[in-house]
């Protein structure tokens, strides 16, 4: 990437080359090569033409440095066609200046002096020496300030152009960022929504877990109540994890209780001591907590024994139930 300074230097070099070409300072080969470039690059051709007009105008307006003026007069004005061009430019610029002056606008520079009158004027009288030197200094400073101004104007134009380009790039970036922002906002909204869903799901799971962690109590009816052979009276759902089996005691005089669970085929599954609990005013129940791992699906018989004070054990009742 070429820096601004390099570009400005290139422009200045380019303009110097154009000036040298127009003032006949290039060798024939360089001149031919330069014209070849102009044949290919139309914008450069236009630039040379513009520099020529600038040279003519600055000569007519007396804005040229002494050295440039000398070169201009010795080469450019050697052509009658160019002399006529300068004369026409002088008429034109003077007319315009007068027209502007008539309109009450101020001119910046001194009135144009006819080049034909100015050129042969080489006064030998030393009395004008000081004035001449001052005039030359003034011309030189004017010329220098003109070159500086042209250079700075070029730089300003470049900087303005670059600023415009940068501005356009920034606006483009701004648009891209706004678009990206919208996307991010949408993503945030989506994530929030998903979060809410997950929270809801989590809440559901917690509720389910809470439900699952509840211990359900099943009241078993003694087998004697069954009138006939049939399905067990109680069905216990052990998928919940835990359950409590309750067997009502009509005689609660036993010191302790024992429970044996066996399959309907008579295979013993579980034997456990248990206590009794009171519900309400005077209802007593023997309780047996069971876990999901204790029993598989199937039909079971629960035998409840009571321990008497002398240590003997009596069967109190039998209960049928089904685990699902």
């Amino acid at each position: 990437m070429i820096s601004r300074k390099t570009r400005v230097m290139k422009i200045t070099q380019n303009e110097n080359l154009i000036r040298r070409y127009l003032l006949g300072e290039l060798a024939e080969a360089d001149q031919a090569a330069f014209e070849q470039e102009l044949l290919i690059d139309r914008s450069k051709f236009e630039q040379v033409w513009a520099v020529e007009n600038e040279l003519v105008d600055s000569y007519v307006r007396g804005e040229m440095s002494r050295a440039d003026r000398k070169r201009f007069e010795s080469h450019y004005l050697a052509s009658p066609l160019h002399r006529e061009r300068v004369a026409i430019a002088e008429s034109f610029l003077t007319d315009i200046a007068q027209a502007v002056g008539e309109r009450g606008e101020l001119r910046e520079n001194e009135p144009v002096v006819h080049w034909r009158r100015r050129f042969p004027l080489r006064s030998p009288r030393p009395v004008f020496g000081v004035v001449l030197v001052m005039a030359l200094l003034l011309t030189f400073s004017l010329g220098w300030s003109y070159i500086e101004r042209t250079r700075l104007t070029g730089q300003i134009a470049k900087v303005q152009k670059e600023a415009q380009t940068e501005h356009a790039i920034l606006r483009q970036r701004e648009r891209e960022l706004a678009s990206r922002n919208q996307e991010i906002e949408k993503e945030i909204a989506d994530v929030s929504q998903r979060n809410e869903q997950l929270k809801a799901e989590l809440e559901q799971l917690r509720r389910r877990e809470a439900t699952l962690s509840k211990v359900l109590s099943y009241l078993l009816a003694p087998a004697s109540v069954r009138s006939q052979k049939g399905p067990p009276q109680s069905t216990i759902h052990l998928s919940a994890g835990k359950a409590r089996l309750l067997m009502e005691l009509y005689n609660s005089d036993y010191t302790s209780y024992q429970v044996i669970i066996q399959t309907v085929e008579g295979r013993e599954i579980l034997r456990r001591r248990t206590g009794k609990v009171r519900f309400g005013k005077d209802r007593w129940f023997a309780t047996l907590p069971v876990n999901a791992g204790d029993l598989t699906k199937g039909d079971y018989i629960l035998i409840l024994f009571g321990q008497t004070a002398d240590g003997s054990s009596e069967e109190i009742d039998r209960y049928f139930f089904r685990v699902s």
Binding site: D57, L81, R83, I88, I96, T150
Partner: protein, 205 residues
């Protein structure tokens, strides 16, 4: 002002077929070839002008005649603009051999050319006539373009380009072309004026 260009011009004229060959060499599409022809002609005229030719347009006509003749003779030219540029340089150098086409430095000129007290007035009158003949839009543009000078000039032109809604380069190019047209018109009128007998020279129109 006789020169080499004029002599050859009389000797040989390109045929319509030759000119068609010349154009076809520039571009197969006739419309584009026409544009390229104009562009090449303008560039060569300016090159010879910048080199100090007295009659650059005639020298370029002579250049095109010579190249066309080559084409008619069956010569194959690959890069016609470059070829024409080479021929134009040669024609220009040949033209310098003629005494009438010698360059005269301004210092020398001041010794031989008598002052023209009325020259500026005549020129101004020609200029005003030519300005009046320009389309109003072009006249306003050229006057406005050159209205400011000094440090205000560049800012004024940038503002003008912005106002017209065109790039500065385009404005510069437009002003150059109008200026060129104006200059040609003034030269033509001055020539006409100088050809008249002295008693007829005023008024100009």
């Amino acid at each position: 002002m006789p020169g080499i260009a004029r002599q050859s011009h009389i000797d040989w004229e390109p045929t319509e077929e030759g000119f068609a060959k010349f154009l076809a060499c520039l571009d197969p599409d006739p419309a584009r070839a026409g544009e390229k022809y104009e562009s090449l002609r303008e560039a060569l005229v300016k090159f010879l002008d910048w080199r100090g030719a007295l009659f650059p347009e005639e020298l370029v006509d002579e250049t095109f005649n010579r190249v066309t003749r080559k084409l008619e003779e069956g010569e194959t030219i690959r890069d016609l603009p470059t070829y024409c540029h080479g021929v134009a340089r040669m024609v220009f150098l040949q033209s310098l051999e003629h005494p009438a086409n010698k360059r005269v430095e301004l210092e020398g000129l001041s010794l031989i050319a008598p002052p023209e007290p009325d020259g500026a007035d005549v020129r101004r009158e020609c200029l005003n006539n030519c300005l009046r003949k320009l389309p109003a839009e072009n006249r306003e543009l050229i006057i406005e373009y050159y209205r400011k000078e000094g440090r205000q000039k560049n800012y004024h032109r940038v503002a003008m380009a912005e106002r017209l809604g065109i790039p500065l380069n385009a404005l510069r190019s437009r002003a150059q072309r109008i200026r060129d047209k104006l200059e040609r018109c003034v030269r033509r009128r001055l020539k006409e004026h100088n050809l008249r007998p002295e008693w007829k020279r005023r008024p100009l129109e």
